[in-house]
């Protein structure tokens, strides 16, 4: 197969569009016979709510019996009589009545003191750490969700699923869904506007020049391709969903979650959603003097708690609450001691919330140890944030333990008892044949491909580089039913990702392998 033929096939794989200069109607994306199985998550969905700016954990979950809290925060502490008690020692900010209600019903799990070792107090650096799942000293450029999705859909980007892998409500794409292979999600604020804007967009598949500029063009084309590929199905599912089953508040975050609820209600199978609310960088005047249950921070917490509670009620009315879990997160908590401007400076560990019908409820972790702070006067972390990620991947989205480890860069993070029941690992989508890689990925010299055939059939296993060039045929011919392994020698390959495609009479599966 030469390059041109490959590209023709590629266009087939990515939705049946004959990409051509200016000629293609955007609505022409046809049903894709090779679409990747969207059921791999068992229909489970994760909705992330990012609290940008660094949420003050101590005024969110208040240690209302701790005199150190009241000493260090003389002007901004939430008074004991105002908190909404969860336990005999900790209570929610009074603005979070909706979360208190979810907690009482066992639909909210509070996880205390979530952070990481050697915390960074820069908004931007710490946000990157949370979004990529790296250690404090590691600089990664792929989001943890992006890495999860490229595992879930190994044919990406040559083969993209029929429905978006991830949706971000907003305008500026988050690192969360970016990967070295391109963006794994689409970003929009309103399905109809998005659909209308996409009209007229054209894309082509002319090879890009091998320059730095060419890399940027490739990136842009890929974003364009996904806009074209997905605006239709998003609109279609959104149109058919029932609206206004539950009245959401009128805040921006609530509007984002309302759209998420409607998309899920319309049957969109996208497993990941990201919503965002900003304004948590409360250096000054986070509370009103002498009325600390009011002010900027209380308003933000009310917005989050009311919006998420409305989302939960909406999903319950739709009968979909078992499928979905919401997790809040923020780049850091804030300093234990107040500063001189009725606010708090950047800190470290903080509580976060996991909400859904599938959670166990209750509290994980202790009240922050205010008498045992780090050298900077900040709370020491009790749980690594990646334990939360691992728990959600494994126990909610049904990712196998070994795969979770791969997503987390080879590190193991013990899971937390957040969910009532762990789901088992996902089931191979094709029963007629299987095709996988075993051994280390990335590999240095050898790797092994494992495949099985239920009956006799014709098999071809080919290897492509990420430019779509076929670089070798590893196996071709008629083979008997059985289980096979094929050792691939890659010591002379250029480092980087490769796609390995197995085609047989029963279908096709693509996996990505990585040469170190």
């Amino acid at each position: 197969m030469n390059r041109k033929e490959f590209l023709q096939q590629l266009s087939f794989l990515s939705g049946g569009v004959a990409f051509g200069m200016g000629g293609m109607s955007v609505k022409a994306f046809a049903h894709n016979p090779f679409s990747i199985d969207m059921e791999a998550t068992n229909g489970k969905i994760l909705v992330l709510v990012q609290l940008a700016g660094g949420n003050d954990g101590l005024n969110t979950v208040v240690p209302y019996e701790n005199s150190l809290y009241y000493n260090k925060r003389a002007n901004i502490a939430i008074k004991k009589e105002n908190v909404l008690p969860l336990t005999s020692q900790m209570g929610l900010n009074p603005a979070m009545a909706a979360f208190k209600d979810l907690y009482d019903k066992g639909k909210l799990t509070l996880v205390q003191n979530v952070g990481y070792a050697n915390p960074n107090r820069s908004h931007f650096r710490s946000t990157d750490i949370w979004l990529t799942g790296s250690d404090a000293a590691e600089f990664w450029d792929e989001g943890w969700i992006g890495r999860y999705l490229t595992k879930l859909y190994p044919g990406f980007p040559l083969q993209i699923p029929e429905e978006p892998m991830a949706i971000q409500l907003g305008s500026v794409e988050s690192l969360l869904i970016q990967t070295d292979l391109g963006s794994t999600g689409v970003v929009f604020s309103n399905p109809t506007n998005f659909y209308n804007l996409v009209t007229g967009t054209t894309i082509d598949n002319e090879p890009v020049p091998e320059t730095l500029a060419g890399d940027e063009l490739r990136f842009m084309r890929q974003v364009a391709t996904q806009s074209v590929a997905y605006s239709g199905i998003i609109k279609q599912k959104w149109d058919k969903s029932l609206k206004n089953l539950y009245t959401y508040p009128t805040t921006n975050l609530a509007s984002q979650l309302k759209i998420v609820g409607e998309l899920i209600g319309g049957g969109l199978q996208t497993p990941i959603y990201l919503t965002t609310i900003g304004g948590f960088d409360t250096h000054a005047n986070q509370v009103v003097a002498n009325a600390t249950n009011t002010g900027t921070h209380a308003n933000l917490l009310r917005t989050v708690s009311d919006a998420v509670a409305a989302f939960q009620k909406d999903l319950e009315k739709r009968g979909l609450a078992d499928k979905v879990v919401v997790m809040t997160f923020s780049e850091f908590g804030r300093r234990v001691s107040q500063n001189g401007t009725m606010g708090t400076d950047h800190g470290s560990a903080a509580p976060l919330f996991v909400i859904g019908s599938g959670v166990r409820g209750g509290v994980l972790g202790k009240n922050p140890a205010l008498g045992d702070l780090d050298g900077n006067g900040d709370i020491k972390f009790e749980y690594d944030f990646r334990q939360l990620y691992a728990s959600i991947l494994q126990d909610h989205l049904g990712v196998e333990t070994s795969t979770v480890q791969g997503i987390m860069g080879g590190k193991t993070f013990s899971t937390l008892p957040i969910f009532r029941q762990s789901t088992s690992g996902y089931v191979a989508s094709n029963q007629e044949f299987t095709f996988d890689q075993s051994g280390a990925n990335p590999f240095t010299t050898y790797t092994t491909l494992l495949y099985s055939l239920k009956k006799d059939m014709y098999v071809k296993i080919s290897l492509y580089d990420m430019m779509g060039r076929e670089v070798g045929t590893l196996k071709e011919g008629n083979m008997a039913a059985g289980v096979y392994s094929e050792i691939v020698e890659g010591s002379y390959w250029m480092p980087g990702p490769y796609l390995c495609a197995m085609k047989c009479d029963a279908g096709q599966k693509v996996i990505r392998i990585l040469k170190a």
Partner: protein, 458 residues
């Protein structure tokens, strides 16, 4: 020294200006060398522009006029960008606005951001040491990063952290303790009306230890201490490189820039000149590699259509640009957070990419449209095509238009396809701007050119 030819001139203008017109390009090429052009034109000093209104000197009072005035000031800046000619001062003003970030969500009164904006314009290529000191007690900055509230021995760390992390050194080049100590040195300043005022009894009048040195430092001393660290010059030069050359910095070239910067005691003009006349800047790898920011997209489009500042209808045209650049995620005086606009790939999401396409379609659709209410002064399609000497030769016209609108190299196949778009149902030999329907064919071509992802690159 790189040669001064059309190709290099286009590259330089597209990076240093908000797009350019054919007149601008001719003017640039009327200089005989790159050096001449950069020195006498691109980096030439100019008088400051007239203010957006008398209100800029009004002592702030809550009178509900802030929204309208912010809008007027934004239009005023659009106008300065459109009328910048071949001088890069407005580009540098935006660079500093995006470096020393303050934003209107916290700075209620446009007067304060006007003062700051003019500080950036005045210091566009002045002295970085002085600029950093000025910014540290600039009223808008004192408001935006809470300096005005910070007081005595329990200071607010907001400004102290961001000056080190985002304005001068970058993460990893200071300790948490340096921040806490510097926060003490920045205390004492408040905002009174339009002015920054120092109140001795709000100042932490004690010794501070910063980067291992101890003294009763004030705000200017902290800036001097910071600039003793070699990381500072590299940090600022890296940011200049990322803005004007490529977002992935060539570290060895950044080091060369930093050396020039330090040797000139942080004068900005020499390092800009060094960068803009270097072989590195003109490296073919970088041609068309910069993703235009929304101001470059919109103002650049108007310039390519030869629209001048005098021809803009402020009531109808600027509100459209305002709404569109907002949708494209760049509202002037309103960067998203203290880091500013990250730029390059951050400009492009599934939504903003398609919004860029609908924007160019919209502007082209106003051409020669009697019912259109905006951009009435842009030529009709045929008259616009006839401003190209090659208007009657379809192949050459496509070449010329592609050459004006696109910095990214375009293949022969793609030009061929654009040519078919222009010709529609006619054949090459029959092309003429007098053909019935030529208006629509030219519009189709212009839309197709600007719908190419390549159009988004400078």
């Amino acid at each position: 020294m790189p040669v001064w030819d059309v190709s290099n001139a286009k590259h330089l203008l597209s990076r240093c200006l908000f797009g350019y017109s054919r007149k601008d390009l001719d003017k640039a090429l009327s200089y005989t060398t790159l050096n001449d052009f950069v020195e006498k034109e691109l980096l030439a000093d100019r008088p400051l522009p007239a203010s957006p209104g008398e209100w800029v000197t009004e002592v702030p009072v809550n009178n509900s006029l802030e929204g309208d005035r912010y809008r007027a000031m934004t239009y005023w800046w659009y106008d300065l960008m459109l009328s910048e000619g071949t001088n890069m001062r407005e580009k540098m003003t935006l660079f500093w606005h995006n470096h020393f970030v303050s934003a209107r969500d916290k700075v209620n009164y446009p007067q304060h951001l006007y003062i700051q904006n003019n500080l950036f314009r005045r210091s566009a290529w002045g002295n970085f040491r002085q600029l950093t000191k000025d910014v540290s007690i600039d009223p808008a900055m004192l408001i935006y990063l809470d300096g005005r509230l910070s007081n005595g021995n329990t200071p607010n760390e907001n400004y102290a952290r961001e000056i080190m992390e985002l304005f001068t050194l970058g993460v990893g080049n200071y300790t948490e303790n340096d921040i806490k100590q510097a926060a003490l040195a920045f205390t004492g300043w408040q905002v009174n009306g339009l002015n920054a005022v120092f109140t001795q009894n709000r100042f932490a009048n004690t010794n501070k230890t910063i980067f291992g040195k101890t003294g009763n430092y004030k705000h200017g001393d902290v800036v001097d201490l910071i600039l003793e660290k070699p990381e500072a010059a590299e940090f600022v030069c890296r940011k200049l490189f990322k803005e004007f050359v490529f977002y992935k910095p060539n570290e060895s070239f950044v080091k060369q820039m930093a050396e020039v910067f330090r040797k000139s005691n942080y004068e900005i003009r020499p390092v800009l000149k060094f960068m803009l006349t270097s072989d590195e800047f003109f490296n073919p790898q970088y041609r068309g590699a910069k993703i235009k920011n929304p101001m470059e997209v919109t103002i650049g489009m108007l310039k390519a259509f030869d629209l001048t500042s005098e021809q803009v209808n402020t009531t109808n045209d600027w509100p459209y640009i305002y709404t569109q650049t907002q949708a494209l995620q760049q509202q002037l005086f309103y960067p998203p957070d203290v880091q500013g606009w990250v730029g390059q790939r951050d400009w492009i999401s599934s939504t903003t990419f398609v919004t860029r396409g609908s924007l160019s379609d919209y502007i082209v659709n106003t051409m020669g449209n009697a019912k259109a209410t905006q951009f009435k002064q842009i030529n009709t399609p045929v008259s616009y095509a006839r401003t190209f000497k090659t208007s009657e030769d379809a192949t050459k016209l496509v070449d010329d238009m592609v050459g004006l609108f696109l910095q990214f190299p375009v293949s022969a196949a793609k030009k061929q396809s654009l040519l078919s778009t222009l010709l529609g149902s006619t054949i090459l030999a029959n092309w003429s701007t007098s053909t019935p329907g030529a208006d629509n064919q030219i519009k189709a071509l212009l839309k197709a050119i600007m719908r190419l992802p390549e159009f988004q690159f400078a």
